[in-house]
Symmetry: C2
Subunit: 402 residues, 2 copies
């Protein structure tokens, strides 16, 4: 008998039919002898609808009342799923945030789960399926709190830790993590096993399957995750600790982000504090700087600094750089049509030649590399945006990901 946390996102419970389908998935787990804690989101679109209600009343809607409002969405799903399971003769019960209770700290709309009364639920699991709302809890004052949007995967992972569950299965509308976006890169292949680190690199680099905070939480608590589709029976992707993975391939996936822009400051004086002078005002203006590359000075007195930002921030960034008297440089150039392509793999560090293979492969296809940045499990290049898909496909071929 295995204890599992199953998490179903908004699209997985988006209609009555889908809720009934989820009930059947859970029925299968129960009949296989497993103890199930189901964590559910609001039906797709519901949270947005409620949020828009609040916006129509007040752009700065009271945060306490916003939590009361939004938390009702998961309450509805909990009740409907419990009813659907009971209809299938599977014993089940909805447990609301205050009935467990799920204790949180931190501010409204952005709380963190600190504890929950697991004994009550553990006792009930001997009888039936416990259905718990994701994304919410109560404060020490007894007010409803929410975890903040995009925190529902992390909630499920935290529950798995608190319940000491064997695994946390994230049911979603894709059937796993792919070596690249399968809608854009038809040759992309589903990854069977991936480490937390690799998943973090891939999710922050544009593979939008798992919320990064959920992967971080899982890594911190060492909770094995499986991402799988609610709508197919296929095996998903398992995300777990690196040391349990057998790396037959050096590269696990290829991520890319578009809508980037590259700025180069040429002839910057090469002395301590220069970089800080450049990036401090950008940080203050909430401009997110991604890659930063500084070349070695050729004349020992000046250097060139290149960095990438989101294309939308280009004008604002140029403005700041031109107006700021603390920043001295000879020339500023930019390219507003670049993309970042990265290979990610925990096996890269122990496999010689990965870097060379990547550069050679791109050169063979006449793809010019504008900048390079590396980390232990990732190698990123900036290229002209028009070459993005060509590059991603080429890297799939080179590293046998097809």
């Amino acid at each position: 008998m295995i204890k599992k946390v199953l998490k179903f996102g908004g699209t997985s419970v988006g209609t009555i039919e889908r809720i009934q389908h989820v009930a059947n998935i859970i029925k299968g787990e129960v009949e296989a002898g497993n103890k199930i804690i189901a964590v559910v989101s609001a039906m797709a679109g519901k949270t947005n609808e409620l949020f828009n209600f609040s916006k129509n009343i007040d752009d700065n809607f009271d945060k306490r009342e916003l939590d009361v409002l939004l938390s009702s969405g998961e309450q509805v799903t909990c009740a409907l799923l419990a009813g659907a399971l009971l209809k299938l003769k599977i014993k089940a019960k909805s447990w609301l945030n205050w009935q467990i209770p799920i204790l949180t700290e931190g501010e409204h709309n952005n709380a963190r789960i600190i504890n929950m009364n697991v004994e009550k639920i553990n006792k009930f699991l001997n009888d039936g399926v416990a259905i718990i709302p994701g994304f919410q809890g109560i404060s020490s004052e007894g007010d409803i709190t929410t975890i903040g949007r995009g925190g529902s995967d992390a909630t499920a992972v935290a529950f798995a830790k608190l319940f000491d569950a064997k695994t946390c299965e994230i049911y979603t509308d894709v059937d796993g993590v792919y070596s690249s976006d399968p809608n854009k890169i038809p040759v992309a292949k589903k990854i069977k096993n991936i480490s937390y680190d690799e998943m973090l690199e891939l999710s922050s680099l544009g593979a939008k399957v798992m919320q990064p905070s959920a992967v971080q939480t899982a890594m911190m608590y060492n909770v094995p995750i499986e991402v799988k589709s609610t709508f197919t029976n296929r095996e998903g992707t398992k995300i777990f600790d690196q040391q349990n993975i057998d790396y037959s391939k050096s590269v696990t996936g290829v991520a890319y982000s578009k809508d980037d822009a590259k700025i180069t400051l040429m002839g910057v004086e090469d002395k301590p504090g220069v970089a800080a002078n450049i990036f401090e005002p950008l940080n203050k203006a909430q401009i997110n700087v991604d890659m930063v590359i500084q070349n070695i000075s050729s004349n020992q007195k000046t250097t060139d600094i290149t960095f990438t930002i989101k294309r939308d921030d280009l004008e604002k960034t140029q403005d700041i750089l031109k107006k700021n008297k603390n920043i001295e440089y000879k020339e500023i150039t930019y390219n507003d049509k670049v993309a970042k392509v990265s290979i990610v793999g925990a096996g890269m560090v122990s496999t010689p030649g990965v870097t060379y293979k990547m550069f050679r492969g791109l050169a063979d296809d006449k793809i010019n590399i504008l900048a390079i940045s590396t980390s232990e499990i990732k190698l990123s290049v900036i290229i002209n945006e028009e070459n993005t898909l060509k590059a991603v496909k080429k890297l799939h071929t080179i590293f046998e990901l097809e």
Copy 2:
């Protein structure tokens, strides 16, 4: 400083604009120095939508989970109204059933409020407006319960009693209780003051302004009610104890119900137990018998018994009467196009000639009376359905209700 319970029904909070309007009504009360407890329903249509969700899953949806599901509707309204008041700089807070708590007993979907922690709310009223969901509570086991549909007015009245409020104002989509349905009888006039008894007679006779259970609760606890419109500024109708009403008029209102049918059993043996033999099987078949009139036997051996039922039940009733061997009679006649018209007034009993005036007035207009039934504050006649509106108008003229 007056403490008031204000109750807003589903249509009063049916849109964001209406919730904002309700917030303005409450703002006016607060600025007049009153302490306000607002009891709110789910937004119009919401409870039906949720109920239909449950029906699509299971016709016998689990009652506990149905309460979890339906109670979310009022939670949404509570949060939105609190946010709307805060936007108007009026201090306010939503209090959910479990936060107060509102304790109930009885079964799910049909619970009764037995107590609530009024001190917490009373303390908060010094600071701001307390917003409470109608129609729900929690059981002694800590499960969510609902009061049963149509019980939200009664909930508000019970709250007024528990809080020792000066008055309970029911905001709705009509602007008060009329002497008859103003949509059908243009001469009908709004009643300024009415006693609980009269209101009960009027509501059970077809004036669908107040839920009868709410009037009964108010009468039991002697809580003054005011029914008024959310959408106009006009004064509503006050419902309170009979002895506080100055009866300048003998008749307060004229009620009527259509879709009735009349059945007469002629030549029924005049002995004990005969009536029971007739009505017992009808009761078992859940046929609602309204008026029953038994004439004095002319020959001392047989009698005629007349009664009215809903027209839809006519065929079933005839079937039962014909098949049942315990019932002996010479002949059965029926009229399936009759209506009941009633005058209601607590002053009737002390005013001579009301009965005579009613019969004479109807006779003057050639309206034939098919049956008569009286109680202390009510006089009902059965007439042919086609004469209904003519009779109601005539009674308005006779008793100066225009």
